[in-house]
Amino acid sequence: MTMATVDNQHSLSGEKNRKATKSLPEAARWISVAGRMAIPLMMLVLLITAWSLYVWAFDVPHYILPSPMRVAVALYTDWPILAPALLVTLKITFTALTIALVGGVALAVLMAQSRIAERALYPYAVILQVTPIVAIAPLILIYAPSTQAALLICAWIVAFFPILSNTVQGLKSTDHNLLNLFELYGASRWQTLVYLKMPNALPYFLAGLKIAGGLALIAAVVAEFAAGSAGAGSGLAFRLLESQFRLNIPRLFAALFLLSLTGVAIFLTTNTISYLLLRKWHESALKREN
């Protein structure tokens, strides 16, 4: 029996994928990445086939459910219309996400630092979360300095809560022994926050971020419905409504497709960020080695 052979004469119960790709050469790593992509892609092909078949078999009229082919054509021909709209929506989305991040984390920190702040503010955060944008959009339109500002306020209201709620939970989940340690070394509140509570809240925060990423996109669309501009400078929401109004259902689906794609891209990004930040130390991202 040579030293280099892995020859486990008993097979282990439990997951086999722990026997991972760590020491494989570059080529093999690419194969494994491809394998990871294969499943979602297969799923996609399956879905599109099923959709096509359904449309074809039941002869579904294109104004109810267009075939994937028609949507693809619309996507191609309407690209000059859809692309700028997508850009506008993306801009709102990322601005909204940024302020939701900043606002959500700032509020969470405030609440985790002071019980009084928590009790005084949390109810109002909840109220903001449950207020339908459409109902207060007029007020916002009246008081916001510009349509753009109104839009961002609307989007922020939708997206900030998951970050706030998760971050608060994370900040509160700090190990008591470590808290004791910090207290012992006379750490200031600020130091305890930055060096202990925040890293500890990271997994929770990141789970919140994953939710908020998609929500910011939805928020951008909803805000545009409620307070946004129309015409040349408008985003996907306007295009969606217009397509609906004009009965241009293939274009509607093309716009939806772009939204979905954006959503998935945002999710993959947040997922990757999460992995990169946690892979060194957190169970959720670690490979089981021992």
Binding site: P61, H62, Y63, I64, V134, A137, P138, L139, L141, I142, T147, F225, A226, A227, G228, S229, A230, G231, A232, G233, F238, L241, E242, F245, R246, L247, N248, I249
Partner: protein
């Protein structure tokens, strides 16, 4: 009795009065129909339900929707036009020196729905000097932002918003009816699928006739029961609002003007449809070279049905 579902494009209101009238006073029943009215709303999908054969008739706002349908190859057809004039109106503050429709171009802000923006506003930009996209602000079906800003106008139904603004805002706004400015579409049309109409000519005729009779009775007869039905469907509706709507409908000749005066409520004429189409093509709102003859049929209207009920 044939069961029929009719979808409106907004919450129950006096503008739907004739249909409710025909339901409650038994006209539909007399014509062998059992009609269920499906209310619409700002985001309701009644037109999609029509296309999916979930309802049989749909109340279409104006002909632009029909142009879109033919452009997209969707087999929809208008069988009657209850409103001769589109009640769509632009509302402005008084004492702002606004006299004519063109004067609205001077305002920095016009609150409009997205559909308004992509239909008549495109026409306005073409037909008049000075309107521009910069004026557009979204209308969220709440007139408060308009009231708060004297230098603005907003869209509305001549029968609805002006009443709310008058009673709650405390001033009598200036009204600019689009129809009077040359936006000559029919409105509140009865729309159905082409195949359905072909297969059920008799049923369609009965529905159109009964609806027209309902409208005469609503406007000239005892409409109390119909109003009660409207208020039941839409509990927010007030008697004052209903009275205002009926008054306005009569005052502006929404239901009865033009061809309707000679051939009865619901009458449509090919020439007017074509003229409106050309106007819209000219304004760049719709594509040229559509076969608009497909979008309507005059087979069921202009027969003077129910004119005897008019007092």
């Amino acid at each position: 009795l044939d069961e029929v579902k009719f979808g409106t494009n907004w919450l129950a209101q006096a503008e739907h009065g004739g249909f409710y009238q025909a339901v409650v006073d038994g006209t539909y029943e007399k014509y062998g129909l059992k009609v269920e009215i499906v209310q619409g709303g700002p985001q309701a999908a009644n037109r999609a339900l029509l296309m999916a054969d979930k309802i049989d008739f749909y109340m279409n706002g104006n002909l632009l929707g029909s142009f879109s349908a033919v452009e997209q190859g969707i087999p929809l057809i208008e069988v009657a036009a209850i409103f001769q004039k589109d009640p769509q109106v632009l509302i402005a503050h008084p004492d702002q020196g606004l006299e004519t429709f063109e004067d609205l171009a001077k305002l920095p802000t016009i609150f409009m729905g997205k559909d308004g923006y992509s239909s008549y506003f495109q026409w306005m930009k073409k037909a008049f000097e000075g309107f521009s996209d910069a004026q557009y602000k979204p209308y969220t079906f709440n007139p408060a932002p308009f009231i708060a800003d004297e230098q603005s106008a907003q869209q509305g139904y001549v029968t609805s918003e002006p009443y709310a603004i008058e009673t709650e805002g405390g001033f009598k706004p200036k009204l600019f009816l689009l129809a009077d400015a040359g936006f000559e579409t029919y409105s509140t049309t009865i729309e159905a699928k082409v195949g359905f109409v072909e297969d059920n000519k008799d049923l369609v005729q009965r529905f159109v006739d009964a609806s027209i009779i309902g409208w005469y009775n609503y406007l000239y007869g005892d409409n109390e029961a119909a109003n009660a039905a409207i208020k039941k469907d839409n509990p927010e509706m007030t008697d004052g609002q209903i009275a205002f709507s009926i008054k306005t409908m009569k005052e502006f000749g929404l239901v009865e003007s033009g061809e309707a005066l000679e051939s009865g409520i619901g009458c449509m004429k090919a020439a007017r449809v074509t003229a409106f189409y050309d106007q819209m093509v000219d304004a760049g709102v719709v594509k040229a070279d559509l076969d608009v003859s497909k979008i309507y049929t005059t087979d069921f209207v202009c027969k003077g049905v129910g004119m005897d009920l008019k007092k």
